[in-house]
Symmetry: C2
Subunit: 462 residues, 2 copies
């Protein structure tokens, strides 16, 4: 413990240099979706590899079908301590609309907000360059003080998290031996408020599906044909309306197969966090939950499956009016999945559900979009307990165990491909504007993030 305090003090002393390194990394324009920025992605990978080498990692930059993957390893002081794999991504979202940025997105600036709160602005500061550096700077402080890390640490940094290229999945398969550790650590999530760290344990999965309803072989004049010709808009509306019952439950047969109730103690904890759910809705000018009845907002978004119509269109949708009966109508529907729901089974059941509602003279086409299974990590585990205790030493409030409405595909891949659980701890705040203009990361998140990882590594290595 005496040693831990020394490492923390070292991180404190070095925080300005850590921040300089964050500035340097943010300046590299590693926009992964735009191939024009491929050289900058490679530059960011090289910068990170050099940084890891500098603090004693044995690092290699691997080419992939997308942007490079950086992978480094370093043994720790204690041979019997668990081996951890830290994951982060160095690529960032595009910056348009550029005109909404106050200042150059790739020239980070320190700004003082209300009440002495300081932030660093720039694309990637929160997502994920600032967050991944909290871990690297934690390792650096350890090395500076002790000359070793407390346990064996691997660091895996990818460049296709924002691009959809999914280059990492293949890399994990071809390098399974090298990347499999006892536990994965991810710093790509947030905190519900600036005093309260959070550890997500349930991440919803996804199944996307598009349906196209067709009837007549052309668009029709609704005067000549209306009342006799099938209208795909009507057929589609009926299917979409049928998706939920009056209690907000999804009506597709077998949809809830594999959905498990959240443990009572976790639900009780979430009830004490109602204000976050209310704030979630208030922030978007809503005041009441609209999904399954009888469940809290947090449970609905973190631990319950959904069927959402993300898009629908049919007929004339421009200005004015056109009395047309369209030849087709279509919708894009996504299912958010939890627990052990099988995306492929849900797709099949949904298609049966739709086919059963296609009247004579109409037909349906399906287009399959992406799937990912939900991730359900244990609500309690030794690693989780250690992390909670470690975070309790750093933050005013105890860590909360949360869910996440969206998916983090790499966590699902770690679980399914490498049989490796993940501990997710992140320090981004709700107003971090990730993916938006004027992204920022709080300096307090950065500094206490470094300190948090020092504490967590120390606890995990015990």
């Amino acid at each position: 413990m005496a040693n831990l305090e020394t490492v923390l003090a070292r991180a404190d002393d070095a925080i300005d240099e850590s921040l300089d390194r964050l500035r340097a990394l943010v300046r590299l324009k590693s926009i992964s979706t735009d191939s024009a920025y491929a050289p900058q992605c490679r530059e960011a990978a090289a910068w990170l590899a050099a940084t890891l080498d500098e603090i004693g990692f044995s690092t290699r930059v691997h080419d992939t079908v997308g942007h490079p993957v950086v992978l480094g390893h370093q043994d720790g002081a204690r041979q019997d301590a668990p081996h951890v794999l830290f994951y982060g991504h160095y690529d960032v979202q595009p910056v348009d609309p550029l005109e909404l940025w106050i200042g150059d997105p790739f020239e980070p600036r320190i700004e003082e907000r209300a009440e002495g709160r300081k932030v660093i602005t720039g694309r990637g500061t929160s997502d994920d360059k600032g967050q991944l550096l909290t871990f690297i700077e934690a390792c650096r402080a350890y090395k500076d003080v002790n000359g070793t890390l407390p346990c064996r640490v691997s660091i895996l940094l990818e460049g296709d998290e924002e691009s959809g290229a999914a280059s990492l999945a293949g890399f994990l398969e071809t390098h399974a031996d090298e990347v499999t550790a006892d536990l994965a650590l991810v710093c790509d999530t947030g905190m519900p408020d600036p005093e309260t760290p959070a550890i997500p344990v349930s991440l919803r999965g996804l199944a996307g599906e598009e349906i196209i309803i067709k009837a007549a072989d052309r668009d029709l004049h609704s005067g000549h044909y209306g009342g006799a010709a099938a209208n795909p808009n009507h057929v589609l509306a009926k299917i979409l309306a049928d998706l939920h019952d009056e209690n907000g439950r999804v009506t597709v047969p077998h949809f809830y197969d594999g959905v498990h109730e959240t443990p009572d103690d976790i639900k009780a904890m979430w009830r004490t966090m109602d204000m976050y759910g209310e704030a979630l809705l208030r922030d978007i000018s809503l005041s009441q939950p609209s999904g399954e009845k009888g469940r809290s907002i947090l449970e609905l978004t973190w631990a319950r499956p959904t069927a959402e119509v993300n898009g629908m269109t049919g007929g004339y949708t421009g200005r004015g009016f056109k009395t047309v009966i369209p030849a087709q109508a279509s919708a894009k529907i996504s299912f958010r999945l939890v627990g052990d729901q099988d995306p492929n089974a849900i797709r099949a059941h949904f298609r049966d559900f739709v086919r059963a509602r296609i009247p004579g003279d109409c037909s349906v086409e399906f287009i399959a979009h992406g799937t990912s299974r939900a991730v359900q990590l244990p609500y309690d585990s030794p690693a989780l307990d250690k992390a909670k205790k470690a975070l309790a030493g750093e933050w005013p409030n105890p860590a909360v165990i949360i869910g996440m409405g969206g998916s983090i595909p790499v966590v699902a891949d770690f679980q399914s491909k490498l049989d490796m659980e993940t501990l997710l701890v992140g320090f981004a705040l709700e107003d971090g504007r990730i993916h938006s203009p004027n992204e920022k990361y709080d300096l307090r998140s950065f500094h206490k993030g470094v300190r948090s990882w020092i504490r967590i590594l120390d606890a995990l290595a015990e």
Copy 2:
């Protein structure tokens, strides 16, 4: 009757000259929706005024808020005979896509189709230049033989039927005294087959309405918010699905107020015409009616009211997938109306119906689009009987009494503004391609159309 045969023979002898005049009129590019063609519209009006003057009408070209109206009058031989007002329109639809036309749309050509069937091609040949000329040429034959018309005839020709400018409605009000006759005649409709003339007596009206459902103040990520935030797509789909019950009836309260059952003898006649309804659907690759159960296709499209969703849109509708919960979703709905249904009452009832289905946190905006009342002409009247007998002399099959799915606003205006009933007789065929490339009019329709009007004028003047 001997005199009638002489007039008919005169029309036969003059048919080539009549056709030359149709060619001359089609060459005038009177596209009313495109202001670049305003001079050509005026030229068409002037050409028609000169033509009417030439056969003894006292004619004037009236300026309107849109294109000019041509109005001519001529007394008839019999002072006690009814005064008839013939209506037609000289404006035409645009011609794009031009590349689908075989030949210049404004350079009419005579083409021989299968079995010696001859047609004249060009924009406006069927709609409505060819048809309006059948009446003018009928008048000319009368004048040539007798020096007079059989009854007082007024001719009203407008230039905004295709433009939506609705300049005629105002003209009818300001010139009510001058245009009100005992009976209006309109030649702007068609025949179910080349042997069978048709007289429409019911024309459906229209009420158009747009609804916009709103929830959150921005588009949301369906991962973060899905399951808790209201989805306007779901609200809209439910409203649209609720519009019809399982028997295809519209569920809006009071919707059927003012809807009268079609007389049994008319329904029986329509049952003998089932093949036309079946052909209507077969032509668009459908095989079964989709509206109210237990009614024939012809009844559904001619004499029953409908609610059709002409357009709907919400969320992401481009290529690929975007897991968004949209801030709003919207639909355009048109109601086809029959009998005494009140468009404004239906709009009000529909809005109540929608408002009752807007959940908390959601709101709805309404945009009113156009309305027109249905027209229900008598299923039997002296004028109708005379016209049927007259047509029986000209065509192989007796005239059928039909309905029309779409509205002809001028007929509603004649009824509501001038308290004047209308007799609709037209000779366009189903394959006339009106509003489409390669519009055509059969020479047989043109020739027998002239002869039909001679017979009808003769019968009405009796």
